[in-house]
Amino acid sequence: MLLAELKDIIRCKDLLLIFIWKEFSVRYNQAVFGIAWAIIQPLSFMLVFTFIFTYVIPTHVSNLPRPVFFYSGLLPWTFFLSSLNYSVPSLTNHHNLIKKIKFPRIFLPLSGIAVAFVDFLIAGIIFAGILFFYKIPIPLTALFCVPLTILLILFTVSFSLLLCSINVYYRDVGLAIATLLRLWFFATPILYSLDNLPERFKIITFLNPLAYIIKNLRICLFLGKPINVTEYLSMLIAGTIFLIMSFAFFKIAERKFADVI
């Protein structure tokens, strides 16, 4: 069943490409700043946090320059956040289409995530610029960012599929998501380092995949240490199982989209 679905997706790949292109054109069509919006969000938050923790509440967050530290957490977080913001209402926004014509519904959330991912890549280039500006050498272990990004995509897609399909049935998801994401932001080590956290709270690294990803991004980028393979593989397996379950859930919910949307 899963394989047949994948074949279906590949067969219709032109539609996915068109949807991604559409998301892009719609977004930047009447926007004067165009693609700059991709980096404005992480950059502006980085500046605000730097200001707060330098002048308002002077705090020692890490040994790194504050902008570098904050941006390294904001980068993956912004991808996760905008993916969910795009994908959760993607099905209900296209209710006219869903009621009329058959096509792989999964393309609607996926195209939103794809746009967020391009933003993520652009923001990543800016990150390289920031590192260069602060003369922070990039170690070879920075290559571990690739498997960590794969993990990030895996969890982002899973959460998106799960939440966007429930949102078709219960609009509560769309309403709750803003609050949920704001709380989630603080449960993720973006503003702080897990090293400063009391031992008994460290369990969140295992419950919150984003905490794991951001912690390890910083380890391999700034400490020049490789990621723990066993830990990574267990996260990867958990992520894959989660993705398969979310996908299966999406497929079941999908059959009634046109009836309940």
């Binding site: 539609l15 949807f19 559409k22 289409l97 014509i101 429930i166 049935y169 009634k256 046109a258």
Partner: protein, 240 residues
């Protein structure tokens, strides 16, 4: 043309809908049903049958009209054929590529130009990108809105909108065309053009399914009319 092989077959189709606004049960039931291997086929208090014991065979190349009062189940039948919804009971077979004519607001994005929307709409209808590129000029010519094709569709009149939507759907190389209440919007000239195009599709052996409240138009086009009333087929009429 009805001697051809059946392209669509409805076998004792029942379809129920819920009246309630929130679907407390349905998702939970669907998940539970996977483990219990049972299907919930009885009607509960807030549900109603949108279609009852529909048996229907449509041959390839046939043009079929559905006629009946609002809420009789015409659009539900088209939705079942399009594969966007599934029957509660019974089995449906529909073969070939299906092109529903998308109503205003469905397949179009208002901020994008007519040309861009041809690509979006075409892809939704199952066309590949090169296919759309090849047909682009034909689609624009047929719609007769060349001078406005690079304008955002939010600035279109509803007539221009319809012309483009119809033109895309009709050029989409499908086997089955679903035309729901749409021809009424255009002006006389365009209407005539659409009818000519539909007749052309008929001679090419395509299957056309029409829903309209214009009975004389339907009698002009269709080979057979299905009269629906209160979720059931009341009678059929062959047009000679």
């Amino acid at each position: 043309m009805s001697s051809n092989a059946p392209i669509i077959e409805f076998k004792n189709i029942w379809k129920k809908y819920s009246r309630s606004r929130i679907f407390h049960k349905s998702l939970r039931e669907d998940i539970a049903n996977i483990f219990q291997f049972k299907k919930n086929k009885d009607l509960s208090s807030d549900e109603f049958w949108a279609l009852k014991k529909i048996n229907l065979t449509i041959a390839q190349g046939e043009t079929l009209g559905f006629y009946g009062p609002n809420g009789a189940g015409k659009s539900t039948i088209l939705k079942l054929i399009a594969g966007v919804t599934y029957p509660t009971k019974g089995t449906i077979k529909a073969e070939g590529r299906i092109a529903p004519l998308l109503e205003i607001g469905a397949g179009f994005h208002k901020d994008l130009t007519g040309r861009e929307n041809i690509f979006i709409n075409g892809a939704i209808l199952g066309m590949k990108i090169p296919e759309i590129k090849n047909l682009l000029d034909l689609i624009i010519d047929f719609s007769e809105i060349q001078e406005f094709i690079d304008m955002p569709v939010k600035k279109y009149s509803s007539g221009m909108y319809l012309r483009l939507a119809f033109s895309i759907a009709i050029h989409s190389q499908a086997d089955i065309y679903l035309i729901d209440e749409i021809i009424a919007v255009g002006d006389e000239d365009f209407k005539r053009k659409c009818l000519a195009k539909m007749n052309e599709l008929k001679t090419k052996g395509k299957t056309l399914l029409l829903v309209t409240h214009d009975l004389s138009l339907m009698q002009q086009l269709a080979d057979r009319i299905i009269f629906l009333n209160k979720s059931e087929i009341s009678h059929q009429e062959e047009i000679l």
